[in-house]
Amino acid sequence: MSSPQRPVAPHSYGSQRPPAAVPIGPVGAIGVDEMQLTDEEVARRMSWLEITADDIANLTSIRDVARGYAAEVIEDLYRHFLAFDETRAFFRDEQTLRRVKAMQTEYFLRLTEGNYDREYVRDRLKIGAIHQRIGLDVKWYLGAYNFYLRAVGSRLMRAFQDDPERGRACYFSLKKLVFFDIGLAIEIYLTTIRRQEEAIRELSTPVLQLRAGLLILPIIGVIDPTRARQLTEQLLRSIRANRAKVVVMDITGVPSVDSRVANHLVQTVEAARLMGATVIITGLSAEVAQALVLVGIDLNRIRTVGDLQGGIEEAERSLGYRVSRVEA
């Protein structure tokens, strides 16, 4: 019986990173709550792994056996962790080691306690998120699971020496649950990576105001449909916020311009025009220009100027600015 507010141990791995220093926000961290799965989703995953009521009965039946060898398994596991530089780095001192062992024990015992519900999922996601946050690569994480299964498997077989059939059944049930956990952990790793990519994308298209009415949009990197959409949205928002009349869009840093990308650019330019702003595109290399002409892109509606400096000069001219050197 798990109450909805089942307290979760304050997970903070490694003394080098106290809980207060854990980054909060869209970059790096992912709220476990936003990944919370619905009951149906949990059930669906369980049925994919063929976790049945029998499995749950198997798991809870070995609770006491598991308690018996928990300490040994954890010791084995940490001996393994400490034997590799990459994993040892996470345990700086005795105190940290003691704390994570206690948490590991808690994780381990939870496997045979039944109630594999949303709260269980939440707990597992949280553990995955912590490992992702401290920077433990997936390969070490998965390797540890393999070690886990092996360490538990041999002990389980020994405990069921007189009934190997039963021992095997329990082991398979445990394996299913462990794979359920692994799935959740990998998912949170991937979700975090996706989130970071989105954040980087957003950061990579700054719209800068150079003068009143004049915006600069330097684009660096690949333009895919998602980024093109973000770019257009951001530009249109900035045009409105800054009451911009002219935008210089520099694509020197875009490595691949094909008909699709050119189409995105044309559409962005058109949308900006409807908002009352003229777009000047700069940085179209001679090679890309040649390729676009061969492909058959109609760039007539787009104003292009060779380089960024030329683009800014033209923009200033059309806004009525005259830049002159102050004579000494």
Binding site: T226, S256, A262, Q290, A291, G296
Partner: protein, 137 residues
């Protein structure tokens, strides 16, 4: 020219990143083969056009890059293969501005202009196979 691999390189296409990878790989191979930089860009553009079509119409497929040699001339051959819905009317598909996906309709005719040789086979319900080659000038 023993350092140039003639082993075909198969690159799966299933998402945006795969297109970028295929196009970058194609450009590198082209430069290694002795293509001028601007031809490298033309080849890379053609690769992304056909790879884009795979993603757009068949969701997945592959791009096969291969260095070829004929009569002392060296070239880069690109094959785009998918088991997608196929193209019912090839003549239309090769016409500028014809598109069934609200695109510019320049992918196939554009690729044809970018390369020296271009061939397409397609069967409705079976898939599409585009083969194109560009020769080092």
């Amino acid at each position: 020219m023993s350092e140039i691999s003639t082993e075909p390189l198969v690159m799966p296409i299933a998402n945006e990143a795969d297109i970028v990878a295929a196009r970058q790989r194609g450009r590198t191979m082209a430069i290694e083969l002795g293509f001028a930089g601007c031809d490298g860009t033309l080849i890379a553009t053609a690769i992304s056009e056909v790879a884009r079509n795979i993603l757009l119409y068949a969701q997945r497929g592959e791009i096969i890059l291969c260095c070829v040699e004929l009569g002392g001339r060296r070239g880069l051959s690109i094959e785009a293969r998918d088991s997608g819905p196929g193209i019912p009317d090839l003549r239309k598909a090769l016409t500028d501005g014809y598109s069934t996906s609200r695109g510019l309709g320049l992918g196939l005719p554009g690729s044809r202009r970018l390369m020296d040789e271009f061939a397409i086979e397609s069967e409705v319900g079976r898939g599409t196979n585009v083969t194109m080659t560009k020769w080092v000038r």
